[in-house]
């Protein structure tokens, strides 16, 4: 197992290097001068010159590349150019919004896998029934629906309409992370307020991902219940519920772990749109704002972080795979 961790971690390093390289060249080899691409609108030539110097754009390409790689290593991505964060180091800008994204993404990922697995297993045990068909229709819908539109629709029902017609118990805020004046609340009140704000973004992301996960788990479980060891478990005299929940589920969920790796980028793409819809001040929102504000260093740093997150997520999925499947553990051990 230890050697598996070591080997997988080792393969992730060149991948991270590749990610950093792609981000750098995508933004540096663009036609035209990056300074003019990202200059604050209405800047004078002197400002541009100064900008170029401060960005190090007058250095040769290779020098800039190695500076950038060094920056990736130390987390130093330069300073933000946007008037909103002017002169603030990119690292601080990102660290300022990162907890919000982690909260949203973490909750959604966890809930999506719990809900998706439950629905998929439930469907597999009732294959071909009416409830299976209905749930299949639902999961296909959520699998196909664009997340931002679902977000807008859920916002319409639970926030805009709810506020106008039904009042609080159904109402969920559709913007921000906290109510104005939340600071004056008790700790418990602040937690509740945060959860209240988290509800809609988290629900949207959960639904969108759970659809695909449920479809996958259903197929995987249907495959598993046909296996010989399920027959052995029945022949032992185990009750059907334990045959499915112990022997079936444990095997059916193995491929779900690999799915965890595959859903990481989908999750992050999702957060970009969902944060934008619900004005949730996180990484996704920051990226879109920075692109529109032409905040070159923040875009660079943010993109690298997104790529690195996926690499690390895949690494975790690989290691988790080794944990749940003893065959993999040994094959590399």
């Amino acid at each position: 197992m230890r050697s598996l961790v070591f080997r997988r971690t080792l393969t992730a390093i060149p991948l991270l290097l590749g990610v950093a390289t792609l981000v750098f060249f995508a933004l540096s080899l663009a036609p035209g001068d990056p300074a003019t691409l990202f200059y604050p609108i209405g800047a004078s030539p002197e400002v541009l010159d100064q900008l170029r110097r401060s960005l190090g754009l007058d250095d040769p390409l290779l020098v800039r590349y190695f500076k950038w790689l060094l920056g990736c290593l130390t987390g130093d991505f330069g300073v933000s150019l946007s008037p909103r964060y002017y002169q603030l180091p990119v690292r601080d800008v990102i660290l300022g919004v990162l907890p919000n994204t982690l909260l949203l993404a973490g909750c959604s990922l966890f809930l999506a896998f719990v809900v998706g697995s439950l629905v998929g297993v439930f469907q597999a045990t009732r294959q071909g029934s009416l409830i299976d068909s209905v749930l299949s229709g639902c999961t296909l819908f959520f699998y196909s629906v664009p997340s931002f539109w679902l977000a807008v629709m859920l916002g319409m029902f639970f926030s805009v309409k709810a506020e106008a017609f039904w009042g609080w118990p159904v109402f969920f805020p559709a913007s921000g992370v906290a109510s104005p004046g939340a600071d004056s609340l008790s700790t418990w009140g602040q937690v509740l307020d945060r959860a209240h704000h988290l509800f809609l973004p988290c629900l949207t992301l959960t639904l969108v991902m759970a659809g695909g996960i449920a479809r996958y788990v259903r197929t995987s479980m249907l495959e598993v219940v046909r296996q010989d060891y399920i027959r052995t478990a029945r022949a032992k005299g185990l009750p059907e519920s334990r045959v499915i929940l112990k022997h079936g589920l444990r095997n059916g969920l193995i491929p779900v772990v690999t799915l965890f790796g595959a859903y990481f980028p989908i999750l992050l793409s999702g957060t970009v749109l969902i944060e934008y819809v619900f004005t949730w001040p996180g990484m996704g929102r920051l990226m879109v704002d920075s692109v529109l504000a032409r905040d070159y260093p923040v875009v660079l740093g943010g993109t690298f972080l997104f790529g690195a997150a996926v690499v690390v997520g895949n690494l975790l999925a690989d290691l988790l795979y080794g944990v749940v499947d003893p065959r993999i553990r040994d094959a590399h051990g």
Binding site: I266, L268, V277
Partner: protein
């Protein structure tokens, strides 16, 4: 007399043979086109001198009308001669098509896709209004045309500029539907080729290509597209298609490579090599055609994915600039009117759902048809 019955009405011979599905689809297609042509006769005649889109619509209409007739006649004749129906594709594809056809949801998906693209092509005749017609703002315009709920006149209502939502959705289909097709076309070609080369040649070339695949796949697609669009802002249609294709090709490459690797070990490759065929010939004539099946699955799912990504991009205001609107942009414009004017954001979203759903159904159907072992897992 009997053999000419196909010339009376397309679909009639099929219906008489009790092939209800075939007969009704052809008949409905033909009647639909006829109704469009007759009710919009003024636009059809005007289209002769119109722009590119008008002429394409005109061509679609005529090809559809005559084609339905011709197909019905041909199908009936070959049936009489006793050759059965005209085969769909090659012999190997026949079984797949039969399996696909038994999957009702997949056929439904294919029907939706074909209808959507037909509607897209015929938009100049079908749309009740010009997409940018702002009636309330015309000289002597009627201010009450703003933000109308769905009615007989505007079946999906009007927006804040008094533009007809339905017409805008029809015109918006151009961007949403064609971008997905183009992007996946590019990525299938590029990714398929790179994957085939990597799988067939192996060694160092394989390593380089697959590391590139890993790196591109390490980015969330939307983030990567946003960065590319940011570099070329404001983005043209071309940039967005390329950006979408750039995020999709690794999936195609990885799939084709895996397929080639397993095919390489099979007997017919050995046989071809023993016969002294060149490497290029083996790759293109013997290996790649066998990877086409799985590739179509990835492509179908990829088009759905590309449509969602483009819509998301437009929603963020980073989509195609200029030209007509797109579905994603319409959802964005409608989100300020959710309390009372729900129709503005709802209908374009439903259009996206419909298109993506159809491609997913077809993709799933193809996968099940290609892999009968998984048949038990095929849901609706």
């Amino acid at each position: 007399m009997g053999r000419w019955i196909g010339l009376v009405l397309p679909g009639l011979p099929q219906l008489l043979r009790r092939e209800a599905f075939k007969g009704t689809s052809v008949l409905l297609l033909w009647l639909g086109l006829l109704v469009v042509g007759l009710t919009r006769f003024d636009r059809v005649t005007a289209a002769f001198d119109g722009g590119l889109h008008d002429r394409v619509a005109l061509l679609t209409l005529f090809i559809g009308l005559i084609g339905a007739w011709w197909w019905s006649f041909r199908d009936d004749r070959s049936h009489r001669i006793g050759r059965g129906e005209v085969p769909y594709g090659s012999g190997a594809g026949q079984g797949v098509w039969e399996a696909f056809r038994r999957n009702r949801m997949a056929v439904l998906g294919l029907g939706i896709i074909l209808t959507l693209y037909l509607v897209m092509l015929l938009t100049p005749f079908l749309a009740p209004f010009e997409p940018e017609l702002r009636e309330a703002y015309q000289p002597g315009g009627d201010a009450s045309r703003i933000l109308n709920p769905p009615s007989v006149r505007n079946i999906m209502g009007t927006d804040q500029y008094s533009q007809d939502v339905f017409s805008r959705i029809l015109y918006g289909a151009r961007i949403s539907l064609s971008i997905g097709l183009l992007a996946v076309g590019i990525s299938v070609t590029l990714g398929g080729l790179l994957g085939a080369i990597a799988g067939y040649l192996g060694g160092r070339i394989d390593w380089v290509i697959m590391r590139a695949v890993d790196v591109v796949m390490a980015f969330p697609k939307l983030v990567l597209i946003i960065v590319i669009v940011a570099v070329f802002f404001p983005a043209s249609l071309f940039v967005i298609v390329v950006a979408l294709a750039f995020t999709q090709w690794p999936f195609m490459a990885r799939m084709v490579r895996g397929e080639i690797l397993s095919l390489k070990e099979r007997e017919f490759t050995e046989a071809a090599r023993a016969l002294g065929f060149s490497r290029r010939r083996i790759l293109f004539r013997h290996l790649l055609p066998n990877a086409v099946g799985p590739l179509t699955v990835v492509a179908a799912l990829g088009i759905g994915n590309a449509i969602v990504l483009e819509a998301g991009l437009s929603f963020l205001g980073l989509g195609v600039q200029g030209g007509h609107t797109s579905w994603g942009k319409m959802v964005f414009e409608g989100r300020d009117f959710l309390l009372d004017e729900w129709w503005i954001a709802t209908f374009p979203g439903l259009a996206i759902v419909l298109a993506v759903l159809a491609f997913n159904l077809v993709g799933d159907g193809l996968r099940d048809a290609l892999d009968p072992r998984q048949g038990g897992g095929a849901g609706p």
